[in-house]
Symmetry: C2
Subunit: 199 residues, 2 copies
């Protein structure tokens, strides 16, 4: 089953001048985004080729920017935060345009798109939006659509404004469990459920 | 429900002289260990006080060493790999003894114990060992014991020798899903299942 994850990095740096040794602080929680990328794509023995990630970066003076990573294209991905921060930094060094994806490394693209633009593009593609939140239907009872696109915030949930943007589209709500989990852990749990449906 | 995770870091550095900017390479996959610590303890809104981790470090000239982290004692834990590597390095700077735990930071201890010693100590404590492996019973069908102690390798499964050490104790086998997952992802899935049993 193909799947897409949109992760909103509310403070995530949009310029390449963050400190590599402090991706958590000066990168605006880029460590959180990095962990989301790792759980989106990494299996112990390979990559999830049917997964995609859209990382909406909203921190710093060049916001918004979106990085798109396509599992069907990437050749390899180390799961450690520093390697993934390197991929992000390489993408941030590229010229980003609003209506076009600029290729950075293989399978990694960047644009000036924000949350609204990304939702519009994916809506036209025919995905079904699924907002991951505690009040949603249990993922174990969830009837997965053919092309689910899961939406989640990094360290904080969607802002009221982002909720408004999402509300302009039809979407479903899904919960992954009775506790409040990190975004990357939510992705692991969703993947595990999909793996069980289509092993 | 209390729970313990034993993670075996087959190449994980046992001296504090690894490169902070290369915990994956010169640290002997300490990034993997760090992610396991993060998923063992970190919730979005706090820490799992009822969890414990034993990290068996087997790399380098001072092997073995074991770091014990007690959720009931630690005051805070940042989920990023670099912060957690800092905790590990601080512990590695302490004098480690075989039959005694030396305190490093709050809730973090180190000793010269190896896998066999740790199993013996925990066995005397009354935990039930649970080996996480693909051939085990599905975690969703698993009757959790009162004090489960999950055992997993970092990037590779247990060696034949380690299997031999484990075989000296009674243990159960559990699988977390139909794919081959990273160790830290296994921990997330086990936690999610336990959360559902005892929300």
């Amino acid at each position: 089953m193909d799947c897409t994850f949109i992760v909103i990095g509310h403070r995530a740096k949009t310029t390449a001048d963050f400190e590599f040794n402090d991706i958590s602080g000066s990168g605006g929680s880029l460590d959180t985004i990095a962990r989301c990328i790792a759980t989106t794509f990494c299996l112990s023995n390979g990559l999830r080729k049917d997964a995609r990630a859209f990382l909406i970066l909203l921190g710093g003076k060049d916001a918004p920017k979106t990085i798109r990573i396509c599992g069907s294209e990437i050749k390899g991905l180390n799961a450690d935060e520093r390697s993934i921060a390197g991929l992000i930094r390489a993408a941030l060094k590229k010229k980003a345009k609003r209506d076009e994806w600029t290729k950075s490394t293989t399978g990694v693209y960047i644009s000036k798109a924000g949350f609204e633009d990304v939702l519009r593009e994916l809506s036209e593609e025919g995905v079904t939006f699924v907002h991951l939140r505690e009040s949603g239907v249990d993922v174990r009872e969830f009837e997965f659509p053919s092309h689910p696109c899961f939406i989640l915030g990094d360290n904080t949930d969607l802002t009221e404004e982002e909720e408004g943007v999402l509300n302009a589209h039809p979407f479903l709500k899904v919960s992954v469990g009775p506790k409040s989990y990190h975004a990357s852990h939510c992705i692991t749990i969703v993947h595990n459920e999909m793996d069980r449906r289509c092993p």
